[in-house]
Amino acid sequence: MRNAQAVPLREIPLLPAEEFCTEVLEAVLHEARLSALFCAPAGGELRLFAILAEDRLGVLHAISAPAGHAYPSLTPDCPQAHLFEREIFETWGVTPLGHPWLKPVRFPRKDPDGAPHAGPEIGLTHFMQAQGESTHEVAVGPVHAGIIEPGHFRFLCHGEDVLHLEISLGYQHRGVERALVQTGSGGPRFVQLAQTLAGDTTVGHTIAACQNLEALSGCRVPAGAQMLRAIGLEMERLANHAGDLGALAMDMGYLPTSSFLGRIRGDFLNMTAKLCGSRFGRGLVTPGGTGCDLDKKRAGEVLAHLREVFPQAMESVELLWSTPSVISRLERTGAVSRVDALALGLVGVAARACDVEIDVRQDYPTGAYAYAHVPVATAQTGDVSARTFVRHMELLHAEKFLVEHLTHLPDAAGPSGGFSAPVRALAPESLAVSLVEGWRGEICHVALTDENGRFAAYKVVDPSFHNWAGLAMALRNQQISDFPICNKSFNLSYCGHDL
């Protein structure tokens, strides 16, 4: 199947559990990635679903197996499955047999409608331990010294060196996926929830959610709306990448870049507000199109603002590369090897910094990206400097895209005009997968409908879910004092993980 396409459930192969596992392992061995792995009720039973992404071909595969009570774990041969399997175990009580580190992920709240599994107490888990002279543990969080979300980091250290970092999240108990299913078949509440999946990726997540609705209902989004969605998505990328680079400079104690990019991020957010009335892109994307239109005049204003601010942003980013003390701080800090990145299934900026050339905009283009090529920015070293470089390049590419498309807007009054098309009832007993390249990386939404065309399950995979393991890996054999800049170079979402 293709990205943002619906298929009837009966067309999805239903294999015995062993065969399912072999199939997944085979695929992962042959350059496929595990985009999602989850349990969902389908056809009167609980089934295991795997969404495999073949990036080279731009093809997605969905396979399933009856879940039963247990199945042979994928993790020993396919590390990227580890968090998915822990999640399945925790939510549905389906045991992946032979999982090396089976502990809770999100500590879900007890379900009023009969939870099959009562999880352990919040935060109570086992952590890896090490013993010996001058080994010690440093525990950071879940309450932090800044206005950030809760998360617990357990460092196993030998003096100043980190032997291992274990990241324990799940303090927010959001229950968003369940709430999304409870909306029935879309509607305003559904869009509202999709917008808040991760507040800094509003546009990305909302596009992913709307693409699913559109795929399931066979709705065609007008060209103007597709363009406006892409503009919103790139604007989000600009604002967040600029903010991240600024925050990275702050953590290094490099003042000029930090203060200038902090301000410029606000400018980018204001441009988004000019488009749709919200600095974070709320209300921009709606099922079937966009919540606002874009005329030549407003596009011109945004373009003028962009042309004024963007060179300033570039100037302050380039300051990073011309300051020796900054470069010495960035290089060889927090490196992740390409092999590890592939094994962990990293996505987005983190993967591209390890020379893994994946980008949903290129591999699975939808909407405006089907007609506009955005170059994939990669770097080789996989360290903080590589992640900084990839962000820098993506800023340049995003600006180029925006300038081009704000200048040449499709004629809204044309035959395919308008900014919204009606969304009809969802196809019954179907599955749709929608991928979007958010600024952090691949956002994957999977929707399943029951025989009445209502949601049977809705699975959201934020890029952070894949990438937190990458951060843990980056810290191996590093200095514990390098954690903040490693963390900032990934800048992962807590709420996107805690769904």
């Binding site: 010690h136 543990e137 440093v138 525990a139 950071v140 010294a145 800044g146 100043e160 400079a249 953590d251 290094m252 104690g253 490099y254 003042l255 000029p256 930090s258 203060s259 200038f260 301000r263 300051t323 003390s325 900054v326 010495s328 701080r329 800090t333 200095q479 514990i480 004092s481 390098d482 954690f483 903040p484």
Partner: protein, 314 residues
């Protein structure tokens, strides 16, 4: 007659000390202003540190049940060490309150004692963060102390005097012409020591909120109220005192008479504030060093002092 001169000297020294006591928190204000200027911000008020100190002194202190007397002793004794060092430090070529042969070792030793007490208080909390901070501070102290003492020895060798006041009192333009390279090397080493002792970038970042990267800040995380005020004020005093020594070295203004005494003091104070501006510029124009590289920087400072000494002994 000589009693009157002594009274005059004593009065002058007391005045200079009072200037240090009152003006030192302003140094942080100046640094912040310079940094704000570079960042295109307006910056906090120049007198912010005074407001902060007043606020902290009005507050009560919180003591963890896990701590002992060592925790309470740290801030007060640390401040006492800084006050004693101030009393030894000359300003603008004029001696401090006390001066005797070999006081430069006491001067360096007072800071070591203060550091030891702060680190003990940090270890007393039993927190892994503070333990880490104490370990880092002690690690950096080894090369920093060596650089400071070697620098002083080089200065003593260059001037033939063994008291701080004597050394800085004998420096003048002629001396700079005679052994300029030695003095310049020592000044550079002392500047690096000053950055390390006062926890500035590139050694430490006084503004960071990231516990894992902190050195000095993390050691004092558990102190609050008046104790924290003592620590902040002690830091300011330390910057003033070391600044006075460095300014005395770089700006060899001196005078025997009352009018030139005043001129010397003005030059000294101007030098200290000029130094604050330089620190602000350094903080605005470079990133903090990787923690692993800090000892190398300080060993570099030691090498500079050592080189100065070797140049003299050859």
């Amino acid at each position: 007659m000589s009693a009157a001169v002594d009274m005059n000297m004593l009065g002058g020294a007391l005045l200079r000390m009072a200037a240090g006591l009152t003006l030192c928190p302003l140094l942080f204000g100046v640094i912040n202003r310079v940094k704000a200027l570079f960042a295109g911000r307006r910056g906090q008020p120049l007198l912010q540190t005074y407001y902060d100190l007043a606020k902290l002194l009005r507050k009560g202190a919180v003591y963890s049940g896990a701590t002992s007397w060592a925790f309470g002793l740290g801030p007060a004794a640390g401040l006492a060490c800084c006050l004693c060092a101030l009393a030894l430090a000359p300003l603008g070529g004029q001696p401090g309150l006390f001066s005797f042969e070999g006081d430069l070792f006491l001067f360096a030793g007072l800071y070591s004692l203060g550091r030891f007490l702060t680190a003990t208080a940090a270890l007393d909390t039993g927190s892994s963060f503070e333990g880490m901070g104490a370990s880092r501070e002690m690690q950096f102290a080894v090369p920093a102390e060596l650089a400071l003492i070697l620098g002083f020895v080089a200065l003593a060798q260059a001037t033939g005097d063994y008291s701080l006041a004597g050394i800085l009192g004998r420096l003048d333009l002629a001396r700079w012409q005679a052994c300029g390279p030695v003095l310049a090397l020592t000044a550079a080493a002392l500047f690096l020591v000053l950055l390390a002792e006062t926890c500035r970038i590139p050694v430490d970042d006084p503004n960071t909120h990231l516990e894992l990267t902190m050195v000095h800040e993390v050691m004092v995380l558990d102190h609050s109220g008046p104790d924290l005020a003592f620590i902040v004020y002690g830091q300011a005093l330390k910057m003033w005192t070391l600044g006075a020594v460095l300014a005395g070295l770089v700006i060899p203004a001196r005078g025997g008479e009352a009018s030139s005494m005043l001129l010397g003091a003005v030059w000294g104070v101007a030098g200290i504030f000029g130094l604050a501006v330089v620190i602000g510029i350094v903080e605005s124009s470079m990133a903090r060093l990787r923690l692993l590289l800090v000892p190398r920087l300080l060993v570099g400072a030691t090498a500079l002092s050592g080189l100065a000494l070797i140049l003299l002994l050859r």
